[in-house]
């Protein structure tokens, strides 16, 4: 009995539960994608492809888990430059889809760099706030420098133009600043500065204005911009409280556009009803709450805040997607993490999971080392916490 408890304790402390939850969530997503694709001639096509991405995502998450977070933060500047370069390259050599130049097309699959850059962007912002904010300089100067670092990412994604992802980058910039003791007045100023930008976007891209008009009054634009919103509402309504069960989503199969990506939540709700939809909202809330609890226990504030910021990024993206599906926001084209069809989005979500666990493990090792140093078991060394448990990267470094 005791050994069984020990096993469960060990299991609960290991990477497995988090990864298992993510896999379960993604499998649920694969099922939802299959359900949403039943009207296509090959309904299993998207679901099978998503399963392949899921496998790749799990392998990458396990790999990232073994990488020491210190190593990632040490090379964050290089990763930042690589991120910017990929976003720049996609503007010139990218593939255009839905009026957006955001994909590298390679025959069987496409890669969306803006999705992969999301976790990297979060990490960079956390690292910048934690290490580069100078106490000698004024808060405003620090903030302007911080914005200058975030701006290239935001601009390059907006130039694609992918306004949904741009929104995520913008909110992440402001949220990370806030979490790292940012000033409210500068945040308010940033919001004010965004107003003319938004007006320019509405003026330059009439389809954005159309979406907004459709959102304001879907019935009046039922054959245009409001059509999608009306079908979202009806799909959810058809699901009712308990849902119609998988395979019986007639409305999402017959009417709902983009059932396997932009409208997956509504399609999912038609199958599993209010109960399933609510459970999904709860999953993201619990994840964020758990991340906060973990952050409080962590010693290194950079690690803790990075963990929270990453989970916040996932939850925020999920809530934007759900808000669009329940008509609280106009269509943005943002996918539901772990659920929507798309390899880049799924792999990026798993990378976040892998990194979160890596951060937790690194912090744990650091704490363990400090404890043993205090008790005199280990000689204090400079940055010697890495030596407690050599990670994969270190082994590679030693070998080379």
């Amino acid at each position: 009995m005791i050994s069984l408890i020990r096993f469960f304790k060990k299991f609960a402390n290991s990477f497995c539960p988090v990864l298992l939850c993510a896999i379960l969530l993604s499998s649920w997503g694969c099922l939802a994608i299959y359900n949403a694709s039943l009207q296509f001639p090959q309904p299993e096509y998207y679901a099978l492809k998503q399963c392949t991405w899921l496998l790749i995502g799990v392998v990458l998450a396990l790999f990232l888990y073994r990488v020491n977070s210190e190593f990632i933060f040490k090379h964050i500047k290089l990763l930042y430059v690589l991120g910017i370069m990929s976003l720049l390259l996609v503007l010139f050599a990218g593939h255009t889809h839905n009026h957006m130049k955001g994909w590298f097309h390679t025959g069987w699959f496409s890669i969306q760099p803006s999705e992969f850059c999301k976790p990297l962007f979060c990490l960079f912002l956390c690292w910048y706030c934690s290490t580069q904010f100078s106490k000698e300089e004024s808060d405003l100067k620090n903030y302007i420098k911080y914005l200058a670092c975030a701006f290239p990412f935001i601009l390059l994604v907006a130039l694609q133009p992918d306004f949904g992802t741009t929104l995520i980058y913008l909110v992440m910039t402001l949220a990370v600043y806030w979490l790292f003791n940012g000033r409210v007045k500068y945040l308010a100023l940033s919001f004010l500065a965004m107003v003319p930008v938004m007006i320019t976007v509405l003026y330059k891209y009439p389809y954005v204005l159309g979406r907004l008009q459709g959102f304001m009054n879907p019935e009046a634009h039922s054959n245009g911009a409001g059509y999608h919103l009306l079908q979202l509402e009806r799909s959810i309504a058809r699901g009712g409280f308990w849902g119609q069960s998988f395979g019986k989503g007639l409305w999402s199969q017959g009417y709902l556009p983009l059932t396997h990506n932009d409208s997956i939540f509504a399609s999912f709700c038609e199958a599993v009803g209010f109960v399933g939809g609510f459970a999904l909202i709860l999953v993201f809330i619990i994840a964020l709450y758990a991340a906060n609890k973990k952050r409080e226990r962590m010693q290194n504030s950079l690690y803790g805040n990075a963990l929270f910021a990453m989970v916040f990024c996932l939850a925020f993206q999920a809530f934007i997607h759900i808000s669009v599906n329940v008509q609280l926001l106009p269509p943005t084209g943002i996918t539901l993490p772990f659920f929507s069809y798309g390899g880049s989005s799924l792999i990026s979500s798993f990378l976040i999971i892998g990194f979160c666990k890596s951060v937790i493990e690194t912090d744990k090792r650091k704490r363990k080392l400090l404890k043993s140093q205090e008790s005199g078991e280990v000689e204090p060394l400079e940055e010697n916490f890495d030596s407690v448990k050599p990670t994969l990267i270190e082994k590679v470094e030693v070998a080379s």
Partner: protein, 229 residues
């Protein structure tokens, strides 16, 4: 100072968590509203949008002579119609499809539209083959300005006026003279009437299909020697 900073940091995270929590509550309430409270209203809208009562005409029976020769029979044909008020972009798309599928030139289509005297729709292509029908069906969405219309034509193998003639009345062949009129009821049969949900492409969603009245094809009429003489 350190304690104050820790409290401040904690508060910042709590602000973010609270905001997300409020957002989640809003989402849940909205979801509940759509799935439970406003469900009936959505259902009635869904019914008006997707529920379609359709009719499939029964094939009119044949008229046969006493020797068994077929004097009159019906043939099913499908035509491609365009509404005369078709919009510019939709017309351009359609022209591209027709050029590809029917080898119809742009000029030909536009001439047909320009020369039309009808006020509702123009027949662009008649007697489509089953393969063409299948290919065209993929392109059409519900309420679009292009649609396929199925009808029957009556073919006579005799010049005798005794057999009579038919007229298309409400999409159905009705006998107006001779044996066609005399045996109209037997020849006509009963149309199939169904109720079903249709998708955007106007395809019937199988699981929702319900027959209101069954189809009974028109009966063949065998004329006696005396009648024919």
């Amino acid at each position: 100072m350190m304690v104050q900073e820790a409290i401040d940091t904690r508060n910042r995270f709590n602000v973010v968590l609270s905001a997300i929590l409020i957002w989640a509550v809003l989402l849940s309430v909205r979801l509940f509203y759509f799935s439970v409270i406003d469900r009936e209203d959505s259902f009635s809208q869904m019914a008006t949008e997707s529920l379609e009562k359709g009719k499939i005409r029964a094939m009119r029976g044949r008229i046969l002579s006493a020797d068994g020769d077929v004097l009159a029979f019906s043939r099913r044909k499908t035509a491609l119609h365009i509404k005369v008020d078709i919009g510019g972009s939709q017309l351009n798309n359609l022209v591209a499809i027709l050029e590809k599928e029917m080898k119809l030139g742009r000029r030909q289509i536009l001439m047909k539209l320009a020369n039309s005297t009808r006020t509702d729709s123009v027949v662009i292509a008649d007697n489509l083959s089953p393969k063409q029908i299948e290919r065209f069906s993929r392109y059409f969405t519900r309420n679009s300005s292009v649609f396929l219309k199925m009808s029957f034509e009556r073919i006579y193998n005799t010049k005798s006026k005794k057999v009579g003639r038919t007229l298309v009345d409400d999409g159905q062949l009705r006998g107006i003279s001779g044996f066609e009129e005399k045996y109209n009821e037997q020849l006509q049969g009963q149309d199939l009437i169904y109720e079903a949900m249709v998708d955007r492409q106007n395809r019937v969603i199988e699981k929702t299909y319900r027959e209101i009245s069954k189809m009974i094809p028109g009966r063949d009429i065998h004329l006696t020697e005396e009648e024919w003489r």
